[in-house]
């Protein structure tokens, strides 16, 4: 009984691959987007072969990310419906950030913070995709009036800023809550991790449910 504790499967291989495709395209997009955003980060264009290549590649990678994310959202979206327990969890965010989880409501597959993040990302992705198409000069910009193009440029920059901040939070949360990264690399978590952070899901798994 001592070492033979079975790990719990949290993500299938297909979800993990999907997640990392989104992650890699996000990093490429954030770096190339920042290269086009502020003089202080303009040097990032060298990573993509210079300014013109950065401009050419960015929107194609963007479309790739939009499709990959749509698939990922379809997989995990169902488990991200916000319920009253999540609101209670979010109201007690002070206990969350100070690592006092004991008295928080039991958490299902995702906690309130993860759900909030998920929907933030969904909203940003939608704005980025639509505004990005409008300012994609090689193909679509000519179809829109100039004021729409200007609005899209602002919306794209704003949504990108929110998304980058959201992903910084997402990455930090994975560093902060030890044992999480393994769920996305190897697909499994320890029973203790599931019991501590997602108790309702842990019990669901024990009863034979909780699969993706």
């Amino acid at each position: 009984m001592t070492r033979a504790v079975q790990r719990i499967v949290r993500y299938r291989a297909s979800t993990r691959i999907n997640h990392w495709l989104v992650a890699i395209s996000f990093v490429l997009l954030a770096l190339s987007g920042l290269a086009l955003y502020h003089p202080a980060t303009a040097w990032l264009a060298v990573l993509f072969g210079g300014g013109p290549w950065t401009r050419i590649l960015h929107p194609y990678v963007g479309v790739f990310m939009a499709i990959a994310f749509a698939l990922l959202a379809a997989t995990v979206g169902g488990a991200n419906r916000v319920d009253p327990a999540d609101r209670e969890w979010l109201r007690r965010w002070r206990d969350v950030v100070t690592n006092n989880e004991r008295d928080l409501p039991d958490v299902g597959r995702y906690n309130g913070g993860q759900k909030l993040l998920f929907w933030t990302i969904v909203a940003c992705m939608l704005v980025l995709l639509l505004s990005g198409l409008v300012i994609w000069r090689a193909w679509f910009t000519a179809l829109f009036p100039i004021e729409v193009v200007r609005f899209a440029a602002v919306a794209h920059a704003a949504a990108a800023t929110v998304l980058i901040c959201a992903i910084v939070v997402h990455v930090y949360a994975a560093i902060w809550v030890k044992g999480s990264v393994r769920a996305m690399t190897r697909g499994t978590v320890s029973p203790g991790w599931a019991w501590k952070h997602h108790r309702a899901w842990f019990r669901e798994v024990l009863r034979g449910g909780g699969r993706e």
Partner: protein, 301 residues
């Protein structure tokens, strides 16, 4: 423009001053286009094509005098013809030579994300340096006059240079040199304003009571100015904007949003750093694993 000019007062996507030892001590330049003197001969278009070696594709007739139909990467200046019936019922043929206005506060330069793709010289000329252009089209988004055009051939943005290469060696722009009626004149901005004032006075004495100079303050004034017979209605002249200014959306995008966005990202990352060092990670300990094991045991029949 690979030549070192040492008189750059503004450069796109750049935060430190550029070489600007040489100033415009004899005054900034301006081109004055007197619409009331223009006969629509298009010699200026031809001169522009000749000097700059530009050849637009030969188009088709659409029952309109504008030829080509629009500005383009090969069309840096274009006569736009408007048939206007004035309140007296008379026809007025308003012909405006369109092209870059060389704004003192250029929306294209403000919007450009590529360091050094757009510069403003001490003499007021706004110039595109295409070797630095990445073809994003932000200059088109930023321009209040809808002037820059992206080439389908090389993906670069083009527009009137105010013949910066000629002006740099003391020549006037090609269109000015060729204009047969003297409708286009070139000199210091002060001289051009003075000349315009005389022309306006003359036009007013001939019954054009609203004649005036078009030097819109919304973009800080321009280095291409018009004398208009109906300065109270600039939009009559093929939709010349009445009060052009950099769009507030472009101002927001390229003004406060840029530093704010970068700050937000850095601040979020910094908050993570403070949290990790201050409060620390959330770890699963042996007790948690033991609790989990107990529940697993209980669940087993």
């Amino acid at each position: 423009m690979a030549l070192q000019s040492l008189d750059i007062i503004r450069r796109s996507a750049t935060t430190l001053p550029e070489p600007q030892a040489r100033g415009a001590h004899t005054g900034q330049v301006a081109k004055l286009i007197d619409v009331s003197k223009c006969i629509g001969c298009k010699a200026c278009q031809v001169a522009c094509m000749e000097w700059n070696d530009l050849r637009a594709e030969v188009g088709t007739c659409t029952g309109h005098y504008d030829n080509p139909h629009d500005l383009g990467d090969q069309v840096w200046t274009l006569m736009r013809f408007t048939e206007y019936e004035n309140p007296q019922g008379d026809l007025e043929w308003l012909i405006r030579k369109d092209g870059c206005m060389h704004c003192a506060d250029p929306g294209c330069l403000k919007a450009c994300p590529s360091p050094g793709a757009i510069v403003q010289y001490a003499n007021g000329i706004v110039d595109f340096h295409e070797e630095n252009c990445i073809g994003c089209g932000y200059c088109v988004t930023g321009c209040p006059f809808d002037v820059p055009r992206i080439s389908r051939k090389d993906g670069k943005a083009y527009k009137c240079t105010l013949c910066s290469d000629r002006v740099a060696v003391g020549l006037e722009p090609a269109c000015v040199k060729t204009c047969p009626t003297g409708a286009i004149v070139f000199g210091t901005k002060e001289d051009m304003k003075q000349h315009a004032a005389e022309r306006v006075e003359d036009l007013r004495s001939r019954g054009f009571e609203h004649a005036g100079l078009y030097d819109p303050s919304g973009v800080g004034g321009t280095h291409v100015m018009y004398v208009l017979h109906h300065a109270d209605q600039p939009t009559l002249y093929a939709n010349l904007p009445a009060e052009p200014r950099i769009s507030p959306l472009v101002g927001l995008w390229k003004g406060v949003a840029k530093p704010l966005g970068l700050f937000a990202i850095v601040a979020t990352a910094f908050a993570g750093f403070l949290h990790y060092i201050g409060i620390g990670p959330n770890e699963v300990d042996e007790e948690d694993e033991a609790e989990a094991r107990r529940e697993v045991e209980e669940e087993r029949p």
